[in-house]
Symmetry: C2
Subunit: 430 residues, 2 copies
């Protein structure tokens, strides 16, 4: 089945600004609540949010096998369960309905009033009920930087790193939607020169610029997923900020990996951009040497050219862009990550979230965390408001952005934002 929604010649009868992340070729999926407290599944074109439940009730999805209430949900999980063919049919249909050449919906002003919302009049909610969350560690540059800082440059990459997409399990309960404020965590750390661990607010709160993908059910427990089939089970992608407390992490992480240093919050962007929408931006992934084991081999262009940016906006001040990087630099692809995850029979479920790991390029300005950008705080960043940053300060908002662009079309992810609030302990006075 063709992905007709991607046709670069399409224009919508809805106004779309030139630099919008959401032209008619995007058609992402999300969940929002209207000012009348109605929760619905929707999509976005330009600065309009579109209520898909209302559109479905009006009969515009006729001919596509969908249950009546498929979009009257507070998560996309059931829709994801319908599978790739249905995702594609729905996305193609939406593109047709909003195509400037098509008058079917365009002329129904009463219907339009029912389904269309100004993006500033709605609030985005978590798009999926997340099952399991796994975070990979797939940027060679990031792993090398971290290894150099914490061990030594000669042995920066551990022996397993080039043979498998290293990953670990994260916490699902603390994954939040863009806009939700994050508390600076309390915890144990072991400052240099100290004789005992100390307890208090983390002093080294960091962001990690990542992307995440969301899956449908893919395999039963005990079965693998052939790498050629992995893409059938990936619904779409989001921006992901893997908030990290470096002082807590340094003290706790051996030998079981990061835990409280990470699980206080993970922020994702609200609109899931489908893998179908990203198809025009597929590019070759970095050459892998040594050649991976057969279960990780996949021919073709398996990475995506997604331009990424991280900015810090201090309270009441202008933002400073601290990182410009690109998803295509990731050494391990999302298909390799998923095939590896299931090679032992681990079952991949509906609504699982898989993070890429910090996305760092090969140049200093392209690193995806303050840890690397300031090289452990030794090279503070000069901010546009005159202040300096080693790590994140209370009141700072971290903003991640990402988009794909070729000579014809730009599609993007919008923003993934979170403001860091002052730490608070239950024994503190209100």
């Amino acid at each position: 089945m063709k992905i007709t929604a991607n046709d670069p010649k399409r224009k919508s009868w809805l106004k779309v600004n030139k630099n919008s992340d959401f032209p008619i070729q995007n058609i992402p999926f999300g969940v929002f609540i209207t000012k009348n407290d109605i929760v619905t599944i929707g999509t976005r074109i330009g600065d309009y949010a579109i209520d898909l439940a209302a559109l479905h009730q009006l009969g515009y999805f006729e001919g596509i096998p969908l249950t009546d209430d498929i979009f009257m949900q507070d998560t996309l999980n059931d829709f994801i369960d319908d599978g790739r063919k249905t995702w594609r049919l729905v996305r193609n249909r939406i593109a047709d309905l909003f195509d400037n050449e098509n008058t079917k919906l365009k002329d129904q002003s009463k219907h339009i009033v029912e389904i269309l919302f100004d993006i500033n009049e709605i609030e985005m909610l978590m798009p999926v009920a997340i099952g399991d969350f796994t975070d990979f560690y797939s940027s060679k540059e990031h792993a090398t930087n971290v290894g150099t800082m914490f061990r030594d440059a000669e042995n920066a990459l551990l022996p397993n790193w080039l043979h498998l997409p290293a990953g670990y399990h994260g916490r699902s309960s603390s994954i939040v939607i863009s806009g939700k404020k994050i508390r600076r965590p309390y915890g144990q750390s072991f400052p240099k020169g100290s004789k005992q661990p100390v307890f208090g607010p983390s002093k080294l709160v960091d962001f990690e610029l990542e992307m995440g993908f969301i899956t449908s059910v893919a395999n039963k427990l005990g079965k693998q997923i052939p790498i050629e089939e992995t893409e059938d089970y990936i619904f779409g992608m989001v921006l992901l900020n893997d908030w990290s407390a470096r002082d807590i992490q340094a003290w706790e992480y051996a030998p079981l990996g990061p835990f409280l240093a990470k699980n206080f919050a993970t922020t994702i962007s609200p609109w899931i951009v489908t893998m179908d929408a990203l198809q025009p931006y597929r590019v070759e992934s970095p050459k892998q040497d040594p050649k991976p084991l057969p279960y990780l081999q996949l021919e073709g262009n398996n990475s995506y050219d997604i331009k990424l940016q991280a900015a810090i906006k201090p309270k009441k001040e202008v933002e400073t862009i601290v990182s410009n990087t690109n998803f295509k630099s990731m050494y391990w692809t999302i298909y390799q990550q998923l095939a590896h995850h299931a090679v032992n029979g681990c079952n991949i479920s509906n609504g699982d979230l898989y993070g890429s790991g910090t996305i760092s390029g090969s140049t200093e300005g392209s690193y995806g965390s303050m840890l690397e950008l300031t090289w452990k705080g030794t090279k503070p960043i000069k901010m546009n408001d005159g202040s300096k940053r080693k790590f994140i300060k209370d009141g700072d908002t971290i903003i991640l952005r990402g988009y794909c662009k070729n000579d014809k079309i730009r599609i993007g992810f919008g923003e993934c934002k979170g403001k860091l609030r002052k730490a608070k302990y239950f024994k503190d006075k209100e």
Copy 2:
């Protein structure tokens, strides 16, 4: 409110064998399916499963604030959401109804037929929809054994171990109920003397004898849980087998912790024994030196005297008990684990599962894994059928058992069983 269900003088009008894990003082909660395909929440006395949905419909929970369908569910999550006071009211009521001195239900033979099932005529299902799964590492003996084997005896415990209950996130999707067969996992390992990682079935599949506790919602994201309040949020405990592939683990675990070595399966026992039922068996936990930080300090008897056993039953042969140990030896308590988990503001949810980590005592026969029992395979175990075991063989069934016993009453967890099946790759011929 008194836990009247625990009264040791109670006897049930249902027959209970002397060594049963399920006298009227237990009243665990579980989910089962009858031979008529009815799924219900239930409890167990002796060898009878009791349908709580039917009991509720017949009016026997009158006066307790419960929704009509609270037991007509395929998980306990909604009941857990009702909170500790309700758990206690329900358990006390059940004890009253089945008390030999009480004729209210005893004399209603028509009702009894509706609610009672022979334990062999039902099938147990997963008792909860598990949100997040965290596995701790709280046995000092286990951590010391593993540290000695993989590093050296002098530095067996890492510096953080005595200061915090180390833990990491596990996989929820692959947690299964006792009885479900487990596939030996495929994966990468790096055998001694090899120049490259190899791919194939794990050669070192192991069990880990653990216990797990299940929580209700406890805190909002960004808030801590004072350690004194943690016990309000713990519903009950189960036996837990944290299946592990030691060869995969050795190759993959640095620096992010265990991943595919563990997430192919975790087995839990089907009946959740409530914390109320376990109260009579509270005992002092091991003295902690150094004294933990204030947020981890809690007065009183905070461990539980639970006798534990692991057995291996080869196909068509008699079983061999390979470990006898006790939960009370755990260095970090469940209350410390939960307070630590939330100290950074990580939100604890309904249906979360928290594993203790392998429970190893101080003597050789009390270790909770084959890794330790056979000291990395160097001291094979002699089995009752004449065979030997370094790790688990295809066809072996691992059986965990646990019970508490004082001079009056024995209550237990039943069995947590799983049979290891031969590895199978998708390219293998059927």
